[in-house]
């Protein structure tokens, strides 16, 4: 196929000013073709294939193939759009009406109607093993108000719900399959209404799905099936693609880009995501109980050079918790903390911070994490802050910082985005949230602002509400955002139609294979 060369493709991508890549469609000139098996190298074994009982952000790459959601997100902006619910409306601020698409059935033939939706939402809200109860906290009850209509009664206005229903909480599982299971879940026997039907799952080895022949979206999906090989070692996974044993690998670390690009049969896509490297702060204990120290911390980092040095330039400097492409991004908030070492020194002096005192920050002990730490240590040294990293494996480090131990004053980690930004803020910046490491109180106006961000469904109103939320978070400097990592996906040139998305969790909706 006479196609644009990789160089041109890359130029196209880097030329997209807003930072949003054009995705596959811009240069896939041929008509999509059915057939073939898409072979994917996946970095982690899923925690479960039941959307309600699983917990890892890495599960979505599998779940999205088998489960369709009530709403879907727009690839570029993450605005919710119709999915299994063909429309929705708030009849009043605490009543959400969902109109379900007709003619859709689960893989086992069970019709997807109002009863099925009610069954799923109630299960997600109340099953003891459900991990998404909190997502539906605002929902009091679900009523079937028509064969294809459900009405959600809320205990508080929650405009975030349509966005939330594009994630786990909106993934519909066949009620018949759930009722048939003795354990009450479909962890190992998923039955959804998605584009692909589950075939097999060998833990840590392989997940196989095949085309759902009665899928409701016309002509989709194109491939006959997908085979995920689970390869936790990303270097090995990348090698499986360059050697032609797999067609695609996602979540590649930036340092792999140059290596895979040397192979002529492989093309690389990238685009911004909500995945943000940041230092979570414990503002219940010194030195970050002092606002000026927290602000100094934010002024001390040169995010541009951090992105260049630590992430091979494949990231967007982060000055707040949303990237430029997001619908609720606010330019003026992003301008609050330019790189200003003098200002940082001044603030530290005002705070009575003794130059050179040690600040202990928890970190991860893998190679990439340590490299990021070294760059930050150097940057903080320039303003007289002496950072000492306490490193441990991911599970241990996060439990030590966020759990009962309260190790360190901060943790260099990352935040994976949520489809609706209100979740991001309520999970980190409310008093009892797990990701508020110190469980320290936040200003009442921030609590109010987070509530207000859920009160109206009007996008303009919500955008303003999020500006307030984000401004309060950053003025209080409760966090040190560093960089939004780009999604980096390498694939065989015969893979067409792949589009990166802002959530950074791959969806293969329009992917097809050239023979």
């Amino acid at each position: 196929m006479a196609q644009t060369t990789r160089r041109e493709v890359m130029a196209l991508i880097s030329g997209a000013l807003a930072g949003v890549t054009l995705g596959g469609e811009a240069f896939a000139q041929a008509t999509p073709k059915r057939g073939g098996t898409l072979r994917i190298s996946a970095p982690a074994n899923p925690s479960s294939l039941d959307p309600a009982t699983g917990g890892a952000g890495s599960d979505h790459a599998f779940l999205f193939t088998m489960y369709d959601t009530l709403t879907e997100w727009d690839f570029e902006t993450l605005k919710p759009k119709p999915g299994l619910a063909e429309s929705w409306s708030f009849s009043d601020p605490t009543t959400l009406v969902l109109n379900i698409r007709s003619g859709v059935s689960f893989h086992d033939g069970t019709p997807l109607d109002a009863e099925a939706v009610k069954f799923n939402l109630e299960r997600n809200k109340s099953d003891p093993k459900s991990n998404i109860k909190a997502d539906l906290a605002a929902m009091d009850s679900v009523a079937v108000t028509g064969p294809m209509q459900v009405t959600l009664k809320l205990n508080t206005p929650d405009a975030a719900l349509p966005g939330i229903l594009s994630d786990r909480a909106g993934m519909m599982v066949s009620p018949a399959a759930l009722k048939a299971s003795s354990a009450g879940n479909v962890t190992r026997t998923p039955v959804g209404a998605g584009a692909y039907v589950f075939v097999s799952w060998a833990d840590g080895e392989k997940i196989v799905v095949k085309r759902h022949e009665k899928y409701w979206k016309p002509n989709r999906p194109y491939p006959d099936g997908i085979e995920f090989s689970i390869i936790p070692e990303l270097t090995t996974g990348a090698r499986s693609v360059t050697a032609g044993q797999n067609d695609l690998i996602y979540q590649l670390p930036p340092r792999q880009k140059a290596i895979v690009e040397r192979v002529s049969s492989v093309k690389v896509f990238n685009g911004p995501t909500l995945y943000v490297f940041q230092i979570f702060l414990n503002w219940a204990k010194p030195p970050f109980d002092n606002l000026k120290v927290r602000q100094a911390f934010n002024f001390a980092v040169d995010r541009e050079s951090f992105v260049k040095a630590a992430l091979a330039g494949l990231a967007e400097p982060a000055y707040m918790n949303l990237p430029k492409a997001h619908w609720a991004y606010d330019k003026s908030v992003a301008a609050l903390y330019p790189y200003d070492p003098d200002k940082a020194r001044k603030l530290l002096a005002e705070a009575g911070f003794k130059e050179g005192s040690v600040i202990e920050i928890v970190g991860y002990n893998d190679q990439d994490s340590v490299q990021r730490q070294e760059i930050l240590i150097e940057q903080f040294r320039k303003v007289g802050m002496n950072i000492k990293f306490l490193n441990a494996p991911i599970a241990e480090a996060s439990a030590a910082f966020f759990g009962a131990e309260k190790r360190g004053s901060g943790i260099l980690a990352a935040w994976t985005g949520r489809p609706d930004p209100s979740l991001t803020y309520s999970l980190m910046f409310t008093k009892d949230a797990y990701y508020n490491g110190g469980r320290a109180p936040v200003p009442t106006e921030l609590d109010e602002a987070i509530k207000a961000s859920r009160a109206s469904e009007d996008v303009e109103v919500r955008r303003k509400a999020f500006s307030t939320v984000q401004r309060l978070v950053m003025e209080n400097a409760f966090v040190l955002p560093l960089a939004f990592q780009f999604e980096l996906v390498a694939m065989n040139k015969k893979v067409q139609g792949y589009r990166p998305n802002l959530l950074g969790k791959p969806k293969y909706d329009d992917v097809w294979l050239e023979s």
Binding site: N131, D135, T187, G204, P232, E233, G237, P393, A395, Y434
Partner: protein, 318 residues
């Protein structure tokens, strides 16, 4: 002293193995509980509150005392049930029976390669000690011991898979479905592990063979007019075979351990990758199951080696 029947010997040895199995699984269980990190946090999902994590501990029985949890696991094992992964619910026995053949095939290939290269090297070196052959063998053997297996593995992949495209770079195939494909996938990892084994076999064999060849009865055999070849094959190798069996049993154990790293490099879903995943996620039934299997394998290998030694050398009292 009357010799005991082999059945009783084997039975006795297996009985002795019981406390070893108990102790090993108990220590590993204790280690998993002692190290920080908690599967309840993983189970509770990305956005869990403290209350939710406490609730999860209750739902999954992780709040029970340490000994009770170990006891529950052991009670299941006695009934032939290795229980299931806390995270994904897959039966541990299923995971192991799928992973074990992959690991076994690599170890067998590595062992065969180590023996067919190591034994001739050791013999040739011992026949003319300090000659140039011997020196070359010594050097190769030192290299084999010194080179890290994972480094050799990466070099092999870069050259043989990616450049020459002779063998697959990653993954494993089932031996029962396609033996040839299975061996093709296991060959590079096998070679990577075999390097150390070859060196070890060559060095040890050379040492013990030299000792035998310089003994008095060999001088007598020479005097009788026996050819060097006959002395070597009929007397020399028979006498060093006890050493050889011991080396092999130690090697198998070492190779099993080496698969942990090698399987990661080649993305082979074997016992090594299984135990790493279990340990990282603190999914203790998986770790316990793999340790249990490994301990049994090691005990069996040692038992077979001992029996073989006794068979070739009547002096060894069982």
């Amino acid at each position: 002293m009357a010799r005991r029947s082999p059945v009783r010997v084997i039975g006795g040895r297996l009985l002795q193995a019981l406390p070893v199995i108990l102790l090993a699984t108990f220590i590993v269980f204790a280690l998993l509980k002692l190290v920080p990190g908690d599967i309840a946090v993983t189970l509770a999902g990305d956005n869990a509150t403290d209350a939710r994590i406490t609730e999860i501990r209750k739902v999954y029985g992780l709040d029970r005392p340490f000994l009770v949890q170990y006891g529950a696991w052991l009670a299941n094992v006695v009934q032939g049930d290795l229980s299931q992964s806390l995270l994904t619910g897959e039966k541990v026995a299923t995971s192991i029976s799928r992973a074990f053949p992959n690991t076994l095939l690599i170890v067998i290939i590595a062992l065969v390669l180590a023996l067919v290269t190591g034994i001739p090297m050791g013999v040739i070196a011992a026949i003319k000690p300090n000659g140039w052959v011997d020196k070359t063998v010594s050097m190769v053997a030192s290299l084999g011991v010194a080179i890290p297996g994972f480094w050799l593995a990466m070099i092999l992949v870069a050259e043989i898979s990616l450049k020459l495209n002779w063998l697959p770079a990653t993954g494993a195939k089932s031996f029962s479905v396609s033996p040839i494909e299975a061996i093709r996938h296991a060959l590079l990892p096998g070679i990577a592990i075999a390097a150390y084994g070859m060196a070890e076999v060559a060095r040890q064999l050379r040492g013990s063979l030299l000792e035998v060849l310089s003994s008095q009865y060999v001088r007598t055999l020479h005097a009788k007019g026996l050819s060097m070849t006959r002395i070597l094959w009929q007397h020399g190798l028979k006498n060093v075979s006890v050493n050889l069996f011991t080396i092999i049993s130690l090697l198998v154990n070492r190779m099993l351990a080496a698969t942990v790293v090698i399987e990661a490099v080649f993305a082979i879903p074997g016992l090594g990758s299984l135990i790493v995943r279990g340990a990282i996620q603190r999914d203790f039934p998986i770790v316990q199951g793999v340790v249990f299997t490994m301990v049994i394998v090691v005990i069996l290998v040692n038992l077979i080696a001992d029996l073989l030694c006794a068979a070739v050398d009547p002096r060894i009292e069982q």
